[in-house]
Symmetry: D3
Subunit: 144 residues, 6 copies
């Protein structure tokens, strides 16, 4: 039987955003998003945790090489999102920049990592708020 | 396919408690609960994490509105448990105030939150101790 | 229906290690393990989290007695791994001391804990790196 | 002899900002501020720690009443800075929104707290960056 | 010139307490202490940090031996305060159990540590509240 | 009057070490250093915090440019200490690798940073142990 391990790596980026939906009125935006609808934006230190799984390689003892995953995240995550205003990014042209949608976008990015299976994307917006995403059409199976 | 996200919110409350079972003798209580059986009680900064899930709303980009969940927690969790002695609460009249039972009680409370599906209740008693509860008759499915 | 809770306990130990595979050449070791292949070793403050589950005892309100689990961990984990060089331990004679393999070894240890069901072993190597193991032939079921 | 204690309170607010000096050229701004000069801004979860001191009241056992300090911070700090873009605030009309200048501005605010002596303002911009300010013309006396 | 280093050691204990002054009326107690005046008490995970200083021993490279300081804290701090109700302790017979007074009491205890000079006692009551004490008649010299 | 701010930057490195003094007997080494004297070494995730001070530049709003300080730390701290065994470094040829001595060595390194005044070097060996150093012949002035 193979031994499967899960590897969770943590990166941080800082960004501005504003919660606003063009299709809603000013009143609806204010009622829905409250202070997060402030027209000049606010921002966060976003903490991203990506979990990948795979068999432990019998020679190297690894699920995936940390340097491969870090290089991927440097190119696809940090270079594109760090020190940005999320509302100006192409990927948020048609969706509001909630952390739920950010998780979904990061799933689309990390699913392309070729060396292990993507299991989970987690984003902590603040120390009191975290969001998990497990892929399109998938929910967590915490219990049953 | 719908996109399901999981939202975990964190609140803190402070409380006293004492581990003691009336049906057990003083010796049995001391043997079972050790220092936690001290008759004058001790206490904790309890950290509660509640995870709810649901489809990401295509307009608002949210699983549930944070202000709704916070209002619910203010009324049902913080106003009832913060700065209390757990042993004096009605919900612990017949059960010992372990964190396992506290989780179970919090599950009964948050299952009534109407805007998303309750997935998990976690309580950290100290930085080295955490308890998860997934509902009556449900266990985690971490592996298989 | 029984009420199942999950209890996660956290311990820390400090240890040295070196990532090196005798069957690989010096060049292959350097290419695979980078700085972690430094012949004199480096080290970590390892954070171990063990999750066990079980029915909440209707009398004691516990899944397992913390003092039992701590005594087990003291004897089987801390006394054997704390302030050691992992590469000198018998259990790593034939495998490289990656955190994936450390998790697997800790699973073999904690599966013998007699008072609750082992669900998960997690080891944080640094604040940015964590590994989970769920048993031989088992993977997480985060989604589906 | 009186007994002096120091009380440090911690609040968090989230905000956007952009580092940019009008008097500098685009090239100079880019060279000085790097990614922080991005025209659309970025943001942070700012952590503020304010330290006040005073004699321990012989009756109440307090340096200052926490509810007084929290009310002051609610009105003067959180209501003015939380979920804002710092660059749009009046107090930053003539100065760049570095955390150094933010500390200085918070000093000007908290020095007006009437119930204890302000000793220090600390702002953590990220988990790896913190700034302390001790008042105009004052430096820390860590050693000598 | 001698080389002086400062060593800060951190311990945690859990305790219950109630803020109440017998000399004040029920109304005054409620107005002064708010929820902390709840007659059944509440509690905390108290985090204690003690800083001692001294010359770095030229042979051992230490300010003081950690095992000496830990043994002292075990006997004088943890065995006396952990899992207690602070209001029942002799040392709080005549003073209210605020964290300011707790710091002062811990100063009286650690000033007797014979192997290094006591510089500071810090107690974190919650993650958002910390108190420092520097000895009778001494205030911090953060600035000047 | 000039406005002086203090900037604290945090970096992490991982290393092995062993506490051992050649001039002491095996028994003395064991008695002095306990488990830390294990001949194969152990290790830590060392957290370094360096505090520098200086006037806030009236144009840039900074005490020193973070990119300058990070480049200095990359070259002088991380490239020399990360993933090393401290006992093999030239700077510890004649002194034992306690964290006190590590602080002192880091002071000698960061005092050469040309763009701000070094105030403090802090090293956290574990989450429960931290050491501060303020320069040769200097002690903290926490009180008086």
């Amino acid at each position: 039987m193979s031994a499967i391990a899960h590897f969770t790596r943590r990166w941080t980026f800082v960004a501005a955003h504003r919660l606003h939906v063009d299709a809603l009125s000013a009143e609806e935006n204010a009622a829905t998003f409250g202070k997060c609808n402030n027209p000049f934006g606010h921002g966060h230190n976003y903490v991203v945790q990506v979990t990948v799984s795979g068999p432990i390689d019998p020679v190297t003892g690894m699920v995936t090489n940390l340097s491969d995953l870090d290089a991927f995240a440097r190119r696809e995550l940090l270079d594109r999102f760090d020190h940005q205003n999320l509302n100006t990014l192409e990927c948020f042209r048609d969706t509001v920049t909630t952390t739920e949608n950010l998780c979904r976008e990061l799933w689309r990015i990390f699913i392309a990592y070729p060396h292990a299976k993507l299991e989970r994307v987690r984003v902590e917006e603040t120390g009191n708020n975290a969001f998990d995403y497990f892929g399109e059409g998938r929910a967590a199976r915490f219990g049953e």
